[in-house]
């Protein structure tokens, strides 16, 4: 066999042994298929692919939005960094003892940031044009006024020694043609300067300067990515070498740090002699809750942007928790959002998210498709959900769905008259789906407008120093508070907040009221036309108050207006902010209160392993019985499936682990083996139905004299059995060792140390 050949080959350093389940002759047939999409039974035949396409479109829309928000947030800082690079060699402080290397330390929190990409794009447009990446319009427009820079990138993996670091750096620069033409001058590697010699850069730089005669030559920026991961001794040498040439070569270092600015990694790690070579300026990338708040408000609560899938309160809750507790990076938030989207499209009905065409070009064809027998289950579930009146469970199954309004079409009777039924109802069903979509969108828009109005009024009152008694936390700002408000708004439980606002508004003095109304009307003015039309009554109402206040400006009219306005505000918020789950078929567009699969993002593997070892039945029962016993491995010769399993046959590892959990701090391996063998012996006897005495100890079993007294066949079998037991023990022991439950000690022979104690049974 080829595997044997590979195993016997002394030259192989690593061998891959593919998993082969015992008795698995039929290749893949017997393996359980894990990739089956859920709810397959009530899905369209090509539903999975259709939904995948819809998911791609929906997620892409959301992702592009978030990225553009981040880009907008980062662009001021990016332009500051670019400005700093431009000015690095202008206006240098005179009389310094020696020239310093301008260094820009960019503190971007873990999770990465596209900021440096933006900087690179602006500074080095020629390189980007070559890459076909011309997204940035600013870079093109500012070309005339800006010094360009040649940018070299250094990454920790390629900087394992000073030679490789210098080689990477030097080649990145000298690979570019000094005059912008793509002609490369051939160098003889042996008789010319080495490609890790910085003098080569100097020679190249002289050529660059000649090519740029009469203009300002570009600067040489070096971006050190993941700066903390570099070997400090190499970077010290690098900086020293750069500083030797700094008077001739305009280097600029850009360090990308993920550690917080204090305690400063640079100052803690690098000696003063190295720091003295640098002129460090710090730039801190905006991060944290403020950015997340911005992203959420502008993606899911923005009046100009409508996400295809609206996320529900439980997702927001989880994101907030994960963000504050574990990982404050936007990448993690994006992952959670993406997972939420993916999970949302598990639901077969989510195929209707964008339109009711079901992947066909026209409605007629969609009707036909839905009328096909293969779509029957899907149709059933659709009808069930259609006839179901909200509030609905988040993901109802067809069997549970009650049929109140349309009692004439219970799902089970559908089979009989499917064709007839389809001809009459499917078209109307699909058209009604369109109207549901519109309704949901408009309701979602209402919630957003209501929320925006709430924020305008609240922001105004906070600015004036009013205390609002809403929310759990002490802070009335920040993402923690905002997320709480978002959750309440989505659940439609905004009564208390509305009342709190209107209560304060009621007692507002007239000048404050005036400016509040002014800011509200300003907000309404900024609305997009289609929303403006819809909100016309409210806008007119506010405008009327504003004009009446300004006309009369008498103290008499102010209290009445305040009262009216406060009532109006309360009613307005109540009318707009309603639970989105009340909409029909809302779970097509809304993730609602579907719990987020938190364990996927943040599992506890060790606990799961321990609990699996302690209670293997819970895990194995879910699998095929044959597959369950296969965990025993190939050496397990008696793993025949038992139809009646009063005492389920436990895997060897579990058996060993049970003894482990009962043991003390240290375990004698021989005793462990004995008890394991005894257990197996007992089990064997039970299986064979032999009427041997129950209390056979291993000493009896293992002693050679007694075995010899038996007949020869038994002796042979016993020997074989004993070998088998030993092999199984060693295998199970190694499995536990591999899982990290065993610590070897040299203190006591034949003993191992436990690593897990107090295991709850």
């Amino acid at each position: 066999m080829s595997l044997d050949a590979v195993l016997n080959d002394a030259n192989q350093t690593a061998v891959y042994i593919p998993f082969e389940a015992p008795g698995d002759d039929n290749e893949d047939d017997s393996r359980p298929e894990l990739s089956n999409p859920p709810y397959e039974d009530r899905d369209l035949p090509d539903g999975f692919n259709l939904r995948l396409e819809s998911y791609r479109a929906a997620w892409q829309k959301c992702l592009v939005r978030i990225q553009s928000i981040l880009h907008a947030l980062h662009s001021p800082l990016a332009s500051e960094i670019v400005h700093e690079v431009d000015d690095a060699y202008f206006n240098v402080l005179p009389d310094l003892p020696y020239p310093e290397i301008p260094t820009i330390a960019v503190y971007c929190p873990p999770g990465g940031s596209s900021l440096l990409n933006d900087v690179t794009r602006v500074l080095d447009p020629s390189r980007n044009r070559r890459d076909g990446d011309d997204m940035d319009v600013d870079a093109e427009s500012d070309d005339e006024h800006r010094r360009h820079a040649f940018i070299g990138h250094l990454y920790p993996p390629e900087c394992s020694s000073i030679t490789s670091t210098m080689k990477s750096l030097v080649t990145q620069f000298v690979d570019r043609s000094p005059d912008g033409l793509d002609e490369q001058i051939k160098r003889k590697p042996s008789t010319s300067l080495a490609n890790f010699d910085i003098n080569l850069v100097e020679a190249w730089w002289r050529a660059v300067k000649n090519a740029h005669a009469g203009q300002i030559p570009p600067q040489l920026a070096i971006i050190l990515h993941d700066f903390e991961q570099f070997d400090p001794s190499i970077i010290q040498d690098l900086m020293y070498i750069l500083s030797l040439h700094i008077s001739r070569l305009p280097f600029i270092l850009i360090l990308s740090l993920s550690s917080p600015p204090t305690p400063s990694y640079l100052h803690a790690t690098y000696p003063r002699s190295t720091l003295a070579l640098l002129r460090i300026r710090n730039f801190i990338v905006p991060s944290g809750p403020r950015i997340l708040e911005e992203v959420f408000l502008k993606t899911f609560f923005d009046l100009e942007f409508e996400p295809d899938v609206m996320i529900g309160p439980s997702t927001i809750e989880h994101i907030a928790e994960y963000f504050f507790r574990f990982n404050p990076s936007l990448d993690a938030v994006l992952t959670i959002l993406q997972l939420t989207y993916l999970k949302h499209f598990d639901e077969p009905l989510a195929v209707f998210i964008h339109d009711s065409l079901l992947g066909t070009p026209s409605l007629d064809e969609a009707y036909t498709k839905l009328a096909q027998p293969s779509s029957l289950k899907f149709l059933e579930s659709l009808l069930a959900r259609h006839s179901h009146t909200p509030p609905s469970p988040p993901l109802p199954t067809p069997s549970k769905s009650p049929t109140k309004s349309k009692s004439r079409s219970p799902p089970l009777t559908l089979h009989a008259s499917a064709n007839e039924w389809a001809a009459q109802t499917i078209p109307s069903l699909l058209t009604s789906l369109d109207s549901y979509r519109e309704t949901f969108k408009s309701r979602a828009r209402d919630v957003r407008i209501g929320f925006a109005v709430f924020r305008v009024v609240r922001g105004f009152l906070l600015e004036l120093g009013y205390k609002l008694d809403i929310g759990k936390g002490k802070e009335r700002v920040g993402f923690e508070f905002e997320s709480e408000m978002m959750i309440k708004a989505l659940r439609g439980r905004f009564g208390r907040e509305g009342r709190a606002l209107s209560g304060i508004v009621q007692n507002l003095p007239s000048d404050h009221l005036d400016s509040l109304l002014a800011s509200l009307s300003k907000f309404f003015e900024s609305l997009a036309p289609h929303i403006y039309e819809k909100e016309k009554p409210a806008i007119e109402q506010v405008a009327a108050w504003v004009s009446s206040l300004s006309c009369e400006s008498g103290p008499s009219s102010a209290p009445t207006i305040t009262g009216e306005f406060s009532e109006w505000l309360s009613a307005y918020l109540e009318e707009h902010i309603r639970n989105l789950e009340d909409c029909k078929l809302c779970d097509v567009w809304y993730t609602g209160s579907t719990p987020f699969p938190f364990e996927l993002i943040n599992p506890a593997p060790r606990i799961s392993i321990i609990s699996a070892l302690l209670h293997p039945d819970d895990y194995l029962d879910e699998l095929d019985p044959t597959a369950a016993s296969s965990t025993n491995g190939a050496v397990n010769g008696v793993n025949t499936a038992q139809n009646e399993r009063p005492q389920p046959e436990l895997p060897d590892t579990t058996l060993l682990f049970k003894r482990y959990s009962e043991g003390g701090k240290m375990i004698n391996v021989f005793d462990w083996f004995e008890s394991f063998a005894l257990e197996l012996e007992n089990r064997k006897e039970q299986t064979n139905g032999k009427s041997k005495a129950n209390g056979v100890t291993l000493v009896e079993y293992a002693s050679a004299e007694e075995v010899q007294t038996d007949v020869e066949i038994e002796e042979e079998e016993g020997e074989k059995w004993r070998m088998g037991v030993q092999a199984r023990f060693i295998r199970a022991l190694h499995e536990l060792d591999y899982l990290g439950f065993i610590k070897h000690t040299n203190r006591k022979p034949d003993h191992i140390l436990k690593t897990v104690f107090d295991l709850a049974g």
Partner: protein, 550 residues
């Protein structure tokens, strides 16, 4: 005395007067190099290596240009060619060889020619010539080629009148490169000495970077059979980097004395003759000299404060002159004004030293604080550390405790009995020495963090979470006991990835190599007491109660 020679002497005399601490070195070296230098000189300068290297560079270039000057037939100076290498930059022998050979002949590789190294004309010019950078042997050949090139250059590069008459000794070699040597004098008898000098700065690094080259360098003259002098310039003594077994020859030693007050002030004031500046520098020196006497550092501080000082003085004159900006060199500053302002500026010198010496800020930022100053200020400090996620704060506090408390105290500090609260016993720390005169035990906090295994960190984290981080009610319902929830919580993937991300940002330091699989990984806390206190306050832990030695 010849005029040029006089100029030269003036330059070197200027150099000596600008750097009084180095005057002996300058005069010795000048004498040596112009006469018969020893083949190996070792200069030790522990205090101001950068200044010494500047001095040496100026000396060598003056000697070099002096040797190129035409002079009278009575005082033929040897031609001095020198190469300057830095042992940090020449981390590879090839760079070392290339740099030395190119420098000695004054060859500048050109990009257009493919950055060819120098090669004698006869061997095909720059292209296709001998390869001198391969190993030591080829390098020695290279040195000989350089030497004969320099000799030939002397003979061929004569005034054009002589050339036209064919008085040059044509030995069949091609014309030299003659870069930048416009004037070459005719020597009597056609022979003129050539001295080659190779200076290696930061020579202590040679031992790590090019260990095989140290012995040959000390014997370069005898190996190459050329008049070459090797000068090693280092901040450590030769004994510390000398190769074993006595293979290297003994150098001629030079020790540069530490700079005294006068010499430092003279170095600092060399570039600015304004008398006000010398007063400024002398005040600065008296304020800062208890902490540092490094001329570079003092000049750095001076550079950051001088503009503000000038501005302050000028502000008094601006008013009188009707708002015209003035140059400080144009005005006569009264003594009273000078003293008053110097007194006002004295405290700022100390504060500038505090900030600039550890490079917390750069001199530029200190001199010109801009309104949109991005350097880290106090508020930003606190913000950045308090923006850590809650779990990372817990981990850092746990790491601080694990790094400060001895492992054997954990049971007493963290174990919780069946009843409400355990009794914590803390060793009283009284600094009274024992009667027997035993050493006072220094608290671990002052000794630095001790490394701890991951298991211990997770266990302490579990205790902290159990007492200070109650589970959310909806999740606690799944568990019988609160400790089970915590047990699950501390073993979650997010906790482990938080530890990894803290390690990446060096707030935790991993002390065991990442490729070691046996045993738990070891860590050390990377934050100090103040930050740990801040973090523990954020998450509601009373840190003092949990410290073994408060």
């Amino acid at each position: 005395m010849d005029l040029d020679e006089q100029n030269q002497h003036n330059t070197i005399a200027d150099l000596s007067s600008s750097y009084p601490a180095h005057s002996t070195l300058i005069s010795h070296l000048q004498t040596f190099l112009t006469t018969y230098p020893p083949p190996f000189i070792y200069i030790t300068d522990t205090f101001t290596p950068r200044t010494t290297s500047t001095v040496l560079k100026s000396l060598l270039s003056s000697l070099h240009s002096q040797s190129l000057q035409p002079h009278g037939p009575t005082t033929p100076l040897p031609r001095i060619a020198h190469a300057w290498v830095n042992a940090v930059a020449t981390f590879n022998s090839r760079i070392f060889f290339d740099t030395v050979l190119n420098d000695l002949v004054g060859w500048e590789p050109k990009w257009e020619d493919g950055c060819e190294n120098w090669a004698p004309e006869g061997s095909g010019g720059g292209a296709g010539g001998m390869r001198y950078n391969e190993n030591l042997d080829t390098f020695l050949h290279g040195l000989r080629a350089v030497y004969s090139h320099l000799e030939v250059q002397e003979k061929v590069e004569e005034p054009s009148a002589f050339k036209a008459k064919g008085r040059g000794r044509g030995r069949g070699r091609g014309t030299g490169k003659g870069k930048g040597k416009e004037k070459v004098e005719e020597t009597k008898g056609g022979k003129r000495d050539v001295r080659m000098v190779v200076v290696v700065e930061k020579a202590e690094r040679l031992r790590e970077a090019l260990p095989d080259l140290v012995v040959p360098l000390t014997r370069l003259a005898e190996l190459s059979r050329t008049p070459i002098t090797v000068i090693l310039l280092s901040s450590v003594r030769w004994e510390d980097i000398k190769p074993p077994l006595g293979a290297s020859s003994e150098p001629y030693y030079f020790d540069v004395p530490p700079p005294n007050r006068d010499s430092t002030i003279r170095v600092l004031t060399a570039h600015n003759p304004n008398p006000l500046y010398s007063h400024f520098i002398s005040t600065l020196y008296s304020v800062c000299s208890p902490f540092t006497t490094d001329p570079d550092e003092l000049q750095y501080i001076a550079a950051s404060r001088w503009p503000a000082f000038v501005q302050a003085i000028l502000s008094e004159f601006v008013d009188d002159d009707g708002g015209q900006p003035l140059n400080i060199d144009d005005i006569q500053v009264p003594e009273e004004t000078r003293i008053r302002w110097l007194r006002q500026f004295t405290p700022t010198f100390t504060s500038a030293l505090d900030v600039l010496y550890p490079r917390i800020k750069s001199a530029t930022d200190l001199a010109r604080p801009s309104p949109d100053d991005h350097s880290v200020d106090e508020g930003e400090d606190k913000k950045s550390i308090s923006q850590l996620p809650r779990m990372q704060k817990f981990i850092l506090v746990a790491a601080f405790l694990a790094s400060t408390n001895p492992a054997k105290s954990d049971m007493r500090m963290f174990a919780r009995g069946k009843d409400e609260r355990k009794r914590r016993r803390r060793k009283s720390v009284n600094a009274t020495p024992k009667k027997g005169g035993g050493a006072v035990k220094i608290p671990q906090r002052l000794l630095g963090p001790i490394p701890f295994p991951l298991d211990r960190l997770v266990a302490i984290l579990g205790c902290l979470l159990l007492e200070n981080d109650p589970p959310p009610p909806e999740r606690a319902a799944d568990f019988e006991h609160e400790s089970e929830y915590t047990e699950v919580e501390v073993n979650r993937v997010a906790v482990m990835s938080s530890i990894t991300s803290l390690t990446a940002s060096h707030l935790l330091q991993r002390t065991s190599p990442p490729d070691r699989l046996d045993g738990p990984p070891m860590y050390r806390c990377g934050v100090g007491y103040e930050i740990a206190l801040e973090l523990s306050r954020d998450v509601g832990i009373i840190l003092g109660d949990l410290l073994w030695e408060a």
